[in-house]
Amino acid sequence: MSNLSKTRNPAYTPQDATPTRSFPLRELILFGVLLVAVLAVYAIMGAAYSTRMLVEAACYAILALGLTIQWGYAGQFNAGVMGFVALGGFCAMFFSVPVNDAFWGTALPGEFGRVLLYGAAAILLIVGASKLDRLGVPKPLRTFITVVLGVVLYLVVISQLREVTDAIEDQAGFVGGLGLPPWIGWIVGGALAGGVGYFIGHICLGLRSDYLAIATLGIAEIIKAFLKNSDWLTRGTATVSPLPWPTPGPAELGFTLSRAIYLSFTAVIIAVIFFLLNRAYNAPWGRMIRAIRDNEVSAAAMGKDINKRRLEIFVLGCILMGLGGGILGTFNSLFDPQGYLPLNHTFLVLVMVILGGPGNNLGTIFGAVAVYIIWIMSEPLALFLMQLAVMFGESAFGWDAPSNMDSRALQARVLVIGLLITMVLRFAPKGLLPEKIKSHS
C-alpha cells in the first residue's frame, strides 16, 4: 500500500477543499441540463413513455445509491449488481403474485415441507459429524466421516427435492405467490440480498479487493441460473406477469397518471434513502468509513475494526440493490429471469456511479437519471445510425448487408458502455460531481 500512495497522482487523491461554502454552480448547471433533456423527451416521445422512463431511472437511482456507498464510500467493487437486483425482483414477484390453489390445495406443500425438514436434519447431522473430534474420534477420521456423510446425505436430499419439484411443475405449474402487498416483497428482497451480500462479504472482504469482484460476478450468474432454471418456483423462461402494484394500476387510471403516482412513490423512497445516507456520510460512522477507504493502515492503527466496517457497508449496499430491484420488478409488472443481463443491471449502474461521482449521493442520482435517458434514447439512435451506414454502404460500394443488422446495432451499445467506463476512469476519475471533502483546518 505504502509504495502506491507515494506515486499517486493528485487527481486521484482527495485534496483539502476550501472550507467556505461555495455557490453550487456546477450542480445547478448539470441539473438544469438534465431538466431540459427530460422536457425534450416529454415533448418528443409523449407523456406515458417519458414517465415510464423516469420511473425506471428512479429505480436505477436506488441501485446506483447502493453501489455508490460500496464503491464511493468504501472502495469496494461489486461486479454482480445484477444478482442482487434479480433477487429483489424475485421477492417482489413471490410475495405479490396471487396464491396458486393448484399448489396449496394439494398434498404438495406437505411433501415440500418434508424435504425441507430432511434437508435441515441432514445439515444437523453433518454439523454433528464435524464435531466428532470432541468425543475422542481422531481428526482425519472425523473429516473423512463428515465428507462421506455430507456427500451421501446431499445426494439423498437433492434427489428427493428433484422429485418434489418435478411433481410441482407437473401438477401445479409453479408454486405461485403469497398474495401479500408488494412492499413486503421489496423489504424481504432487500433482506435476502443483504444476506447473500453478508455471505460473500464475509468470505472476500478480508482478502484482496479483486477477489470480491470475482466472487460477486460469480454469485450474480449463479442467482440468475437458479431463477432461470427453477421452473417450479419462478416459471423460468415462461415468465410471471402481471405483478400487482402497490399504487392504482394503469387499468384504473390510465398509463400516465398511474405511472406518475408510482413515480412520486419511488421519489419519496429515494428521498428517504438520500436523507439517511447523507446523515450517515457526515456522521462519525461515515468519516470512519472514508478513513478506511483512504488509508487502511492508519485506520487500523486507530483501532478501527476494518473488516467489520467493510462488511457493514457492503451489506448495506446490497440491501439497497435488492430493494431497488424489487421496486423495478414490480413496476415492470413482469418477472423474467432471462431479462436480467450483466450489461443492463451491472455495468449500466456502474457507469451511472462513476460518471455521476462516486461518493457523492447527489452526483449519483444525477448520473443515474442522465445515463438512463442516454441509454433509452440510444436504442433508436443506434438503429438509425446502423440503417444510415447500411444505406451508405449499399449505394456507395454495393455492399450486401447481413440481415441481422438490427440486433447488431444494439450490440453497439455494449461498446459504448465499455468506452464510457474506460474513458471516465482515465479522464474524469472523480465523476461529474466529485465527492466534496470537508476539511476543518
Binding site: 509504495n3 502506491l4 506515486t7 499517486r8 497522482n9 487527481a11 486521484y12 472502495g75 467493487f77 461486479a79 446431499y154 445426494l155 437433492i158 434427489s159 428433484r162 422429485e163 468470505i203 472476500c204 482478502l207 484482496r208 479487493s209 479483486d210 477477489y211 469482484a213 470475482i214 466472487a215 460476478l217 460469480g218 454469485i219 450468474e221 449463479i222 441460473a225 437458479f226 432461470k228 432454471n229 450483466p342 450489461l343 455495468f347 456502474l350 462513476i354 447481413p402 441481422n404 440486433s407 447488431r408 450490440q411 453497439a412 451499445r413 455494449v414 461498446l415 459504448v416 458502455i417 465499455g418 468506452l419 464510457l420 467506463i421 474506460t422 476512469l425 482515465r426 476519475p429
Partner: protein
C-alpha cells in the same frame, strides 16, 4: 463395462478438455496478476477475440489446410496468436498504461478491464453477429472411435479430432512456457519482477519490456484457449462471462502468480465440473441387483444439473478462499 466407457467418455475425456482450456486461460490470468497485480477481467474476451480471428482467417482461406492435411483453423492459429498478442499489447498501451501511470489502486484497473471486456464484446458482436458459428468451414470434424478389447464392451471410447489437437497443443504450450520461464533471460527477469518489482527494476531489468512480454504471452495463450474451445464446440461471441469464473477459480486454486499452479488448478476445476454433473447412478447400475431392497436407486444421481455447472467453480473458489486463500501452491500475490 459399458458404464465404464460411459464414465471415460463423460468424465475423463470431457474433464481433460475443459481442464486444458481452463488451464491455458488461467496461466495467462495468473501471469498478468503476478506482473501487473490486478485481476484481468478482459481475458475471456481476448480468448473470444483469438477464436474470432481464426474464424475470419478460416473463412477467408477455407482450403488452405487441406493441402497440409490439417484443419484450416489449426493452421491459422499461429497467425491468430500473433494478432491477439498485438491486441493485448495495444490494449495495455491505450487503456491500462495511463491508469498505471496515475498510480491508481489495482481495483480501478479491474474496473478498467471490465470496460475493455465490454468494448471487445461489442466489437466482436458487431462484426460477427450474435449467433454460433463452426470453425470447421471447409473441413470435416474427424471422430475417432476406439473399441475396447474387452468382452461385453460395446460402446467405443469417442475422441474427436479437435480434442486431440487440444491435448497436444496444451502440452506443447505448457512445456514451452516452462522452458521460457526457467531457461531464458527474459523469463527469469519476469519471475524476478513478479517476486519483487522494485528490486527487479533496481537491478537493471526493463520493466516496460517485461510488461509487454507478459501481454504477448497472455494474448497468445488466450488465442490458443479460445480457438481450441471454439474448435471443440462452436464459436460463440458471448462465452466470456461463463469462462471468467472457472478461469479465475483455477488461477486462485493454483495460487495466484504461480503458472504451474494455474495448470493444476485448471484441471482441478475442469474435473470437478464434469464429476459434479456426471450422473453417478450410471456407475451404480451394474450393482443394482445386489443392492438391498429398501435402497431404491434414483435415476439421476448427479450432484448438480448441467444448467448449474457454474456453481461448481464458484463453490471451489469459496472453499479455497475460506480454507487456503493462498492457493494449493502458495501463490505470491495476496
Amino acid at each position: 463395462m459399458n458404464e465404464l466407457v460411459f464414465f471415460i467418455n463423460n468424465v475423463v475425456i470431457s474433464g481433460s478438455v475443459s481442464g486444458s482450456i481452463y488451464a491455458i486461460g488461467a496461466v495467462g490470468v495468473t501471469l498478468i496478476f503476478s506482473i501487473m497485480r490486478f485481476a484481468h477481467f478482459a481475458h475471456a474476451d481476448m480468448m473470444t477475440f483469438g477464436a474470432f480471428m481464426v474464424l475470419l482467417l478460416t473463412t477467408a482461406f477455407p482450403a488452405a489446410g487441406a493441402s497440409l492435411g490439417v484443419p484450416t483453423a489449426v493452421l491459422m492459429l499461429p497467425l491468430a496468436m500473433l494478432l491477439t498478442a498485438a491486441l493485448a499489447v495495444g490494449i495495455d498501451k491505450i487503456f491500462y498504461k495511463p491508469l498505471r501511470a496515475h498510480g491508481v489502486k489495482s481495483i480501478v484497473l479491474v474496473i478498467g478491464s471490465l470496460g475493455v471486456t465490454l468494448i471487445l464484446q461489442g466489437l466482436i458482436r458487431l462484426f460477427s453477429g450474435t449467433g454460433a458459428q463452426s470453425l470447421y468451414v471447409d473441413d470435416r470434424k474427424e471422430i475417432f472411435r476406439l473399441a475396447l478389447p474387452f468382452e461385453g464392451a460395446r460402446a467405443p471410447i469417442v475422441v474427436t479430432e479437435p480434442q486431440i489437437y487440444l491435448f497436444v497443443i496444451t502440452l506443447v504450450a505448457v512445456v514451452a512456457l516452462h522452458l521460457f520461464l526457467n531457461r531464458s533471460r527474459l523469463g527469469k527477469a519476469m519471475r524476478a519482477m513478479s517476486d519483487n518489482p522494485e528490486l527487479a527494476q533496481a537491478s537493471g531489468i526493463n520493466t516496460h519490456t517485461i510488461v509487454a512480454v507478459t501481454w504477448i504471452i497472455a494474448g497468445a495463450l488466450a488465442a490458443i484457449a479460445g480457438t481450441l474451445l471454439s474448435l471443440d464446440v462452436t464459436f460463440k461471441p458471448d462465452l466470456s462471462f461463463f469462462l471468467l469464473l472457472p478461469i479465475f477459480a483455477a488461477a486462485i486454486v493454483g495460487g495466484v502468480g504461480h503458472p504451474y499452479g494455474a495448470v493444476v488448478g485448471g484441471f482441478v476445476v475442469g474435473f470437478a465440473e464434469t464429476l459434479a454433473v456426471f450422473n453417478w447412478s450410471v456407475l451404480l447400475r451394474p450393482f443394482r441387483d445386489s443392492l438391498p431392497l429398501w435402497l431404491e436407486l434414483p435415476s439421476n444421481l448427479a450432484f448438480v444439473g448441467t444448467e448449474y455447472k457454474i456453481v461448481v467453480p464458484f463453490f471451489i473458489l469459496v472453499a479455497i478462499l475460506v480454507w487456503r486463500p493462498t492457493g494449493l501452491f502458495k501463490g505470491k500475490v495476496i
